[in-house]
Amino acid sequence: MSESTADAVIIGAGIVGAACALVLSSHGVRCAVIDAGIVGGGATSAGMGHVCVIDDSEPQFALSSLSVGLWRELRDRLPRGAEFDGCGTLWIAANAAELDAAGRKAERLAARGIRAELLDGASLAQAEPRLRPGLAGGLLMPDDSVVYAPVAARWMLDQAEAAGSRVRLGGSVVSIGPSRVGLENGESISAPWIISATGVWAPQLTPGLPVRPRKGHLAISDRYPGLCRRQLVELAYITHAHGHSDESVSFNLQPRPTGQLLIGSSRQYAGHDPAVEPRVLALVLARAIDFVPALAGVHITRAWTGFRAATPDSLPIIGPHPAQPRLLLATGHEGLGLTNSLGTARLVASHMGLEPAPIDPTPFLASRFRSAIHG
């Protein structure tokens, strides 16, 4: 039975595990990254690749704004295939109430040093002429960006490997003991630190974690360069409660650097079945066409689903497992795994004593769900 050692075992080669490997190996930590599948094979490849500041709660704002800044610092090092595009986000206000709310949001963000530009209806139409006429305005967040996550994750792991870490793919983890991880084939890896970046699969390895799969549908088109310039997202969430309904659909359109259009999105608590649901796909497309009528004739080449790792309070779980202080959890990012991966990695590094905490780590600790987790 083969037995090896490392300074840290990272379970999961998605964007969060890869970012942890990148940051930890920069501190001289030799990581062993393990994944049952391929690099970025889970939510990392299913998601849109939107890197954005979200301010629906203080901790979310702290983590996402930290992370957006870290992504910008990384942009010049990323390979071309990571398709980093600083296209920004344009939040769309459909009516006057939403525009008012957008104005307040812009002020809040400005007070915290985040660039946000309020557009009236005319400026919006000028910025994105394919939006339907009559929209009230928008909020431009020029520092948001778009990244192709699977290639970014692969690059992060390449950097980690160059710094002495190793990546072991196709190996399923079956047990996490103190300072030891056991694989399906009998192999085991010992390390003082274990990091679980297993996204939606976290409850299988660490039972009791309140992480639920939240299904999403996306579609991508053939190439239509120039149809829109920014990532366009409807702002209606400001006037509607950000809740946990079983099903919701919102307009979200991303121009890929290839000229393709990525069209989203849906959120469902609907079990684990990855099948594309025709009804939901139809709703996603209809909503997109409602905002951008020119999408009607656009050829859809592919549609797929993915599962976000959702928590009850919409915040990720980052920090020690309540019963195993050297098992660090890094999961529950819902749809913000790509955005928050870099900030998460910094928090993980701070829990290992490698650097000071960049933001207050308390809101992300697993112990906030104490009742749900029994080591």
Binding site: G40, G216, S221, S250, A282, I289, H299, R302
Partner: protein, 437 residues
């Protein structure tokens, strides 16, 4: 949006589809055939007015079989309701029984220069000539593999092209094995002799395969090699195909089991899905005889005439055995895996070159890291090529089956599909409008 309904719906109007439709119709079922092409016959009988094609078309007509052409099935909006795309908008088709007769497409293997304009699929070039492409006076080598190469060469000659060579990659030794096998199939033998007569001035070289096509803006020259000798042939176009690949995307989208790139069926052509049958090349390439008998079995079984269907099983076994002998004889040689160089484009939609894709660990890894197979053909060309070159399992088909307009999809897949557009107010009521993360 147009709605249609039939007891038995058949997808594909090639030999298998026509046979299935005729048999089910003759047993009193209402039958609707959906086909992507302007006319029935599939690729093999495209524009063919030969006896068998005429016979099966006539049997369909006599049995009252209905056809919708230029219509591509793109998905299923609810169990038992297909969604299809047409030039004039989408349609929905309800079925009680479904027969998948989706046929096959050509296998293309990459070699340097294969992306030049003027390098056509062998069957592809034939289809283009049948739809009006005038090849009179052109010099067109026919290269690749399979029993269709001489057929296509003869066709091109008949349309005025000069075919300087038919280069079959299979060795003479494996072809001799086939010649013995032919004795058991007189119809095939007669066909082979006829072809030989048509080809008497065209050298048919076994054991030669294409290694490079060159030309500035289009192909002007092709090199074929037997490993020792390389022949350089000047040309105006090149016809090139390496056999056929089953079309399984519809079956896969409908949730039918697929094994090694073929639809799984019982001996009565039942797929893993209740009420869904499959026949012909989608079960593994077998040729016209095989497609016809499997179509008959599927049509009869779909109509509930299972005893009659069961009687045809012997005929099917013989046809499949012959197909097996063919595929052994034309087995692709190792050397074809070494013709590509690092600069050779493998995925033509996304211009992914061999040098980038060869080091990936599996098909999905290649898709995610290089975009191979992520373009509009959805891996229909590069997928089978990579399966051959790297031994990868290639098979995650995702809806829609074919690229389709966003509005057509929204209307046809949606629950509000009966109206011209989804009801906007209803849509808003059902949504909670959260931001995407």
């Amino acid at each position: 949006m147009e709605h249609r309904h039939a007891k038995v719906v058949v997808i594909g109007a090639g030999p298998a589809g026509l046979a299935a439709a005729a048999r089910a119709g003759e047993h009193g079922c209402s039958v609707l055939v959906i086909d992507d092409n302007p006319d029935s016959g599939g690729q093999i009988w495209r524009g063919d007015h030969g006896l068998r094609a005429r016979t099966w078309r006539a049997r369909c007509a006599a049995a009252g079989v209905a056809f919708v052409h230029e219509t591509a099935v793109i998905g299923e909006s609810a169990p038992g309701t297909l969604v299809a795309g047409r030039p004039r908008g989408p349609m929905r088709v309800r079925f009680e029984r479904l027969v998948l007769a989706t046929g096959a497409r050509e296998l293309f293997l990459p070699f340097p220069g294969w992306t030049l304009p003027g390098v056509f699929g062998a069957g592809g070039l034939q289809a283009l000539v049948k739809s009006g492409f005038d090849v009179r006076g052109m010099v067109i080598p026919v290269v690749g593999s399979g029993p269709l190469l001489p057929v296509i060469a003869a066709y091109l000659r008949g349309r005025g092209a000069r075919v300087p060579i038919v280069a079959e990659q299979a060795s003479a030794a494996s072809m001799r094995g086939l010649a013995t096998g032919l004795l058991g199939a007189p119809a095939k033998l007669i066909q082979a002799i006829r072809l030989r007569a048509a080809l008497w001035r065209t050298p048919y070289r076994t054991g030669y395969w294409p290694v490079q096509a060159t030309g500035e803006d289009r192909v002007r020259e092709v090199k074929v090699s037997n490993g020792q000798r390389t022949l350089t042939i000047a040309c105006d176009a090149l016809a090139c195909g390496f056999g056929l690949v089953p079309n399984i995307h519809v079956a896969s989208t409908l949730g039918c089991h697929i094994t090694e790139g073929r639809v799984d069926v019982s001996d009565l052509m039942r797929t893993s899905r209740e009420g869904v049958f499959a026949a012909g090349e989608a079960l593994g390439v077998g040729g016209v005889e095989c497609a016809l008998v499997e179509g008959e079995i599927a049509g009869l079984a779909a109509a509930g005439a299972e005893d009659e269907a069961a009687d045809l099983r012997g005929r099917r076994a013989r046809a499949r055995a012959f197909a097996g002998a063919l595929s052994d004889a034309f087995r692709l040689r190792e050397e074809l895996r070494r013709v590509v160089d690092d600069a050779t484009v493998v995925c033509r939609c996304e211009d992914v070159r061999w040098g980038r894709v060869r080091a990936r660990s599996c098909w999905r890894d290649a898709k995610l890291q290089t975009r191979c197979g992520m373009g509009p053909c959805q891996g229909r060309v590069c997928g089978p090529a990579m399966a051959f070159l790297r031994g990868w399992r290639v098979g995650d088909s995702r809806p829609p089956v074919y690229p389709a307009g966003a509005k057509d999809l929204a209307v046809a897949l949606g629950s509000a599909g009966a109206s011209a557009a989804p009801d906007e107010r209803g849509l808003r009521e059902r949504t909670n409008m959260e931001p995407e993360r």
